[in-house]
């Protein structure tokens, strides 16, 4: 049964599918050489493609290789198998074509906010004055133009991450990599920044790969969610279990959390990451913390 051409979600996915591939990850594998010559395989046979201006999120349990994956994409770590192609050219090291926002705060503390945003522009050999006026535009985009002359230590955690986003975008990367950028923030700030990020993405022609362990965050932000799984009997390293398309219209609103389509996707991912376990059959013994005679039933 052909879908109605007026369905905006299906239409959107058709448009994305017609766009060129920006990032092509082929059979990627990565092993760490650990202590005593033992190797730890972090990733096993991971393949996916990201198309131009797509918003891709990667979820998975802790330790399944999400950070390793994004560090390889950024060129900060080297894969041991497969290949990573950006616009058809293999990735060999870090470069300004892949911007990165880290979980920790990585603003340069010795530079004011605007100088931080200017950093990438100056690395691209842009003159001071031009870099400055351009940096101010980016700060305006993340709503922090008023903090241009502040020091990073004078900003809140959420503001720092917004500046970090502006700094990464100012270098005009082809792709923006984000490794749990809102992981250290409280839920309210986090929600605000999620909305803010989508708003920025609407205004800027950039492809996003966003790592998170929060399923809600992954589904709400993304066009497509990659689910990474930890190693098991069949897979020696973290592996790609599924790529789930999120059938929600853009721009997203908070109210979409209640749509059946949202909940269906969310549940499916939840079941992949945390398969339901039968409840424990018997009551476990309770470890006593108090003196005898002080028990509760």
């Amino acid at each position: 049964m052909p879908e109605a051409p007026s369905d905006p979600v299906a239409e959107r996915f058709r448009r994305i599918a017609a766009r060129p591939v920006v990032l092509d990850v082929r059979a990627l594998g990565m092993s760490f050489r650990g202590a005593g010559g033992k190797t730890v395989q972090a990733l096993h046979d991971v393949s996916f493609q990201v198309r131009r201006r797509e918003f891709l999120t990667v979820v998975g349990a802790s330790g399944c290789g999400k950070s390793t994956l994004v560090r390889i994409l950024a060129g900060l770590a080297h894969h041991t198998a497969g290949e990573v192609l950006l616009d058809g050219r293999p990735v060999t090291g870090p470069g300004p074509d892949r911007g990165m926002v880290f979980q920790g705060y990585t603003l340069f503390p010795w530079l004011t906010v605007v100088r931080n945003v200017m950093f990438g522009l100056e690395m691209g050999d842009m003159g001071r004055d031009q870099a400055r006026s351009e940096a101010l535009l980016w700060l305006d985009l993340v709503g922090l133009a008023s903090k241009a002359e502040a020091w990073p230590h004078q900003l809140s955690g959420g503001q720092r991450q917004r500046v970090a986003i502006a700094r990464a975008l100012a270098a005009r990367p082809r792709i923006l990599l984000m490794d749990e950028p809102f992981g250290a923030l409280d839920p309210q700030t986090r929600a605000t920044l999620q909305e803010h990020l989508l708003q920025i993405w609407q205004q800027v022609d950039v492809t996003v790969v966003f790592i998170t362990h929060d399923i809600d965050e992954a589904v709400w932000l993304a066009d497509r969610v990659l689910v990474l799984q930890p190693p098991d009997q069949d897979h020696p390293g973290g592996w790609l279990a599924e790529a789930v398309e999120v059938p929600l219209p853009v721009p997203r609103t908070r109210a979409m959390h209640d749509l059946p389509a949202y909940r269906a996707v969310r549940e499916r991912i939840e079941r992949l990451i945390r398969p339901p376990r039968p409840p424990a059959a018997e009551r476990l013994p309770v470890f006593k913390m108090t003196a005898a005679g002080d028990e509760v039933l």
Partner: protein, 358 residues
């Protein structure tokens, strides 16, 4: 409040901190005063004022037991007993004597003609330290930063540096004199040998402690290795580097004592030795205290300057301090300020191009 200040990790209020700072100096001084001015505390000797019929002579210092024995002996023989008062040994002068020596050290000419005055000795020492430390830092800091940033270089350089570090600097004394003659060159060389190798290791370590996230962030923004060094690593470690230098400067003074004993004698430690030979222990103390004072004042001044050098580290600076600093450094900053003003009136800089931002 007072209790929590003395707990592990306690936070003494600013007022108390000031009092503690003063106490750090006043307590030892009080102990010294007590030892010097309370005659029943210690004072193990007797200064003979009047020998009587004993074999002592006026001005001798006698152990108290021997003096008591002589007094008892005189009483038994019906002779005039020796008289005197309890004193400390000659090597522990009283605070006021040392204070006087500090004053007279600068105002009286040296005992032998041709010997340097105290301030000349002091000036000489400071010159030697300054040259030694400067040469050390000019090579040691860049090498340390490079070792801390480039692991391969660290593997190549640091084992040998570590090896030499364990050789005591004084061991190089004879060698330095043989190679560099007997004037100031071997003294400067001893300071360099004493501080350079430590400096390379300390700076390399400080460099390695820079947050890797900052370096990686810069790499993803397109920074080349050269720019990583000049724009990220060096500014990033600057506050810690500054502290390292303050500590290493203290070590330089330790090696000075050795340096001034080789070749032609000179400088403050030579002065101290010379006064020791004359048994002028008040002057000896004065010399030692002078070294301490110079070190303390240098460190306080450097610490004070440090608070202004790194405004981004979030240290609180009082308004009065900030004004004082601005006034003191105005001559240094004037050319820079003028340059900035000139740039502002540059017609090209005044109208930046509109970026073609999407």
């Amino acid at each position: 409040m007072v209790r929590s200040a003395w707990r592990v990790g306690g936070d003494p209020p600013a007022r108390l901190s000031g009092v503690l700072w003063l106490g750090a100096f006043l307590l030892p001084l009080a102990a010294w005063c007590a030892l010097s001015y309370l005659p029943w505390l210690w004072h193990p000797q007797v200064l003979i004022a009047e020998p009587g019929d004993s074999s002592f002579s006026a001005g001798m210092r006698i152990e108290r037991a021997a003096f008591a024995a002589a007094v008892a002996e005189a009483a038994r023989q019906g002779q005039r007993p020796p008289q005197g008062g309890r004193v400390n040994p000659v090597f522990l002068p009283a605070p006021h004597e040392v204070a006087r020596a500090l004053w007279t050290g600068f105002t009286t000419p040296p005992l032998r003609r041709g010997d340097p005055w105290l301030h000349q000795s002091l000036g000489h020492s400071i010159t030697v330290i300054a040259w030694g430390f400067l040469i050390s830092a000019l090579v040691g800091v860049p090498l340390g930063v490079l070792c801390g940033s480039v692991p391969a270089l660290s593997r190549l350089v640091e084992p040998f540096v570590d090896f030499i570090r364990y050789m005591p600097a004084p061991a190089f004394g004879a060698l330095c004199v043989a190679v560099l003659g007997i004037n100031d060159a071997p003294k400067v060389a001893i300071i360099v040998v004493g501080t350079f190798f430590q400096m390379v290791l300390v700076v390399a370590n400080t460099t390695r402690q820079l947050d890797r996230g900052l370096v990686e962030a810069a790499q993803t923004l397109g920074a080349s290795d050269k720019r990583l060094l000049t724009r990220v690593i060096v500014p990033g470690i600057l506050p810690n580097l500054y502290t390292d230098m303050r500590i290493l400067l203290g070590w330089a003074w330790t090696y000075l004592i050795v340096a001034e004993l080789i070749g032609a004698s000179s400088g403050i430690s030579w002065y101290i030795n010379q006064q020791g030979k004359y048994r002028a222990y008040d002057n000896v103390f004065a010399g030692i205290i002078l070294i301490g004072l110079i070190g303390l004042v240098t460190d306080l001044v450097l610490g004070w300057i440090g608070r202004f050098l790194f405004p981004w580290s979030g240290q609180q600076v009082s308004r009065a301090s900030a004004l004082a600093f601005a006034a003191v450094t105005l001559p240094l900053r004037l050319p820079w300020l003028l340059l900035r003003l000139a740039r502002r009136y540059d017609p090209k800089a005044a109208r930046p191009q509109e970026p073609d931002h999407a």
